[in-house]
Each structure stands twice: as structure tokens, then as C-alpha cells.
């Protein structure tokens, strides 16, 4: 639909882990999903990188954007509610890695 999904590293259904990064400045990945594993539910397409646009740059190269689904019980150990409850969030490709990969710390 919106945007161009060609060249996406991940496909819908794949498990991905959100990188733990603390770069200085404007980022679009909230801390509560960092280090956690979810599943790609929608390859949205490539968009100018907002983490660059924020500083008046042109946002290139574009970054692939995904919607990633998490189980609420995986986000919050004491989550109260149906264990089937979920959360979906937009994340850019440079924040994601295959779920099997261990991040260097």
C-alpha cells in the first residue's frame, strides 16, 4: 500500500529484536521496547529517516519502516489482562535485528 517495500530486510511474520542503543539526540524508538523481541506484522515501506530530518538534514538514505507486534506479557512482566493482549509499534530497520542474533554489549 503506502510506500515502497522493495529492499526490506525483514518480511511479515519474522521475529525481530529491538536494539538497545542510546544515541544522542532525536530517536523514534521508545525505551520500553528496547531489547525485546516481537514479530513483523507489516512492512510499511521506506521513509526519509526522521532521526535525520529532526536536524534539518534531508533524511537520506531512506529507512525501511515496519510495524512490529509484541505480546504485552513480554513487555511487562506483571501485565494484568488477557495474556493474548498485544501492542503494535512502528520501528525503523536500523533498530531491528534478527531475533536469534545476540547483541554485543
Amino acid at each position: 500500500m503506502m510506500g515502497e517495500a522493495a529492499g526490506a530486510r525483514f518480511a511479515a511474520g519474522e521475529s525481530v529484536t529491538v536494539r538497545r542503543m542510546r544515541p544522542q539526540g532525536h530517536i523514534r524508538t521508545p525505551r520500553y521496547v528496547m531489547g525485546l523481541t516481537g514479530k513483523i506484522c507489516h512492512v510499511v515501506g521506506a521513509f526519509p529517516n526522521p532521526e535525520e530530518l529532526a536536524y534539518g538534514r534531508n533524511g537520506s538514505p531512506k529507512k525501511m519502516l515496519y510495524r512490529v507486534q509484541f505480546q504485552q506479557a513480554g513487555l511487562w512482566p506483571d501485565y494484568a489482562g488477557n495474556p493474548a493482549d498485544t501492542l503494535e509499534i512502528e520501528l525503523y530497520e536500523h533498530w531491528l535485528m534478527p531475533a536469534a542474533v545476540k547483541e554485543e554489549s
Binding site: 493482549d85 498485544t86 501492542l87 512502528e90
Partner: protein, 216 residues
């Protein structure tokens, strides 16, 4: 009761209440920067003061009714509903709405999944279609609690989602803007689009409530 400040008043109960706080009482850094930039651009003839006023007026004239019209059309026209879910912005343009660069993602509520929208990072909202977000949507409390304890937040809005129904929160962190397509209220089987529009409230488009029902 209207009254004047004169000596005859002395001794009567006389309560003005606290004055409402002005919203423009402090010239903050960004407010000063906005004024300076605007005045420079007007001075250089890039645009006029009337252009700015007109843009603000156009934004303020966008209301949740635009979203309600999309929903009512989707409830009565299955082919339109499919197009709305596939590409919300294109479907909005089809009904004549100017949505600019908005990338509208319409999420369907079903008897099995109740969806709720939040922007934890700021206050992303499909303004180009349905106008400015309510104050609570921008509050730190809503933004943090909607992802952490969505069922408790929904209860505070009077919305009890049965345990058998999945609650799915959408955190609007990047380029998409979200609007919920609520479940069509029971008892509206014969209703046409015009009758359905008033049932679709702003809050039902955010997902914190169901639409109004036939009794309301």
C-alpha cells in the same frame, strides 16, 4: 447575575471565582522563535499574515466528523471498507477530504480484537483528517499508561473490554497516523450513512470507547 461594582454592593456575597489561566501568558523560547520566523517570512513576502491566519482556520475547521463519515461509509459499503483498510489516505481523498501528506492507517475493531491508539513519544494524531487531538491524548498519563495498562485506562473511559477479547494497542511512533474503524452498533441494520455518522464519536475513532448506540 450581572452586577456592577458600586457601593450598594458592599456586604453582599460576591464571588468572582479564580480567573482562568491565560494560555499565552509566557513568551517561551519556541514561542519567540515562531513569532520571529513568521514575521521575517511575512516581511520577505514569502507569505502573508492572512495566509497564516487562513492555515490556522483551515486546521481548526477539521473535525472528527470527517472520520465519522469514513466510518459510516465503510459500515454501509463493503467495497469502500476494503479500500479504507488497504489505504486510508486514498479512501479519504475518494470522499473529497484534503489530507495532504497524511498516511492514514485504519485499524478495524472486531468482536475478537479491541484496538486503541496512543503516541508515547509525542502526540501524533491524524490531524489533517479529524482535527486537533484532545488534551488528554497529549497528557503524560495517557501516553505512558495506555501502553502499560490499557485495560485500566479503558475502564476509566467507561469501556469494559471482556477478558475474552484481545486488547491491541497501537503506538504511533513514526510516519503513520491511526484511526479506528469501530464495530457497527447493534440495532442499526436498516440505517443509512447519514443516520450512522452521528454515532461515531471522536473517542471511538481513537479507540477509548465504542460508538454511541441506538439508545443514546
Amino acid at each position: 447575575m450581572p452586577h456592577t461594582h458600586n457601593s450598594q454592593h458592599r456586604g453582599e456575597a460576591h464571588d468572582h471565582g479564580p480567573a482562568a489561566k491565560d494560555h499565552d501568558d509566557r513568551l517561551t523560547y519556541y514561542r519567540a522563535m515562531e513569532i520571529a520566523l513568521r514575521e521575517l517570512l511575512i516581511g520577505k513576502g514569502i507569505f502573508t499574515a492572512d495566509d497564516v491566519r487562513g492555515a490556522v482556520e483551515a486546521m481548526d475547521s477539521r473535525t472528527p466528523e470527517n472520520g465519522a463519515r469514513l466510518v459510516a461509509r465503510a459500515w454501509t459499503d463493503p467495497a469502500f471498507k476494503a479500500r479504507l483498510l488497504a489505504d486510508g489516505s486514498a479512501a479519504a481523498r475518494e470522499l473529497g477530504f484534503e489530507v495532504g501528506t497524511l498516511k492514514l492507517m485504519v485499524i478495524e475493531n472486531t468482536p475478537k480484537v479491541h484496538n486503541l491508539v496512543v503516541c508515547t513519544l509525542c502526540s501524533c494524531y491524524p490531524r489533517m483528517l479529524i482535527g486537533l487531538p484532545p488534551a488528554w491524548y497529549k497528557s503524560a498519563a495517557y501516553r505512558s499508561r495506555a501502553v502499560r495498562e490499557p485495560r485500566a485506562v479503558l475502564r476509566e473511559f467507561g469501556t469494559i473490554v471482556p477478558e475474552s477479547v484481545e486488547v491491541r494497542v497501537h503506538d504511533s511512533t513514526a510516519d503513520l497516523r491511526y484511526m479506528i474503524l469501530p464495530v457497527r452498533p447493534a440495532g442499526t441494520a436498516g440505517w443509512n450513512e447519514e443516520q450512522l455518522v452521528p454515532l461515531v464519536t471522536r473517542d471511538s475513532l481513537i479507540g477509548v470507547t465504542a460508538p454511541l448506540n441506538t439508545a443514546s
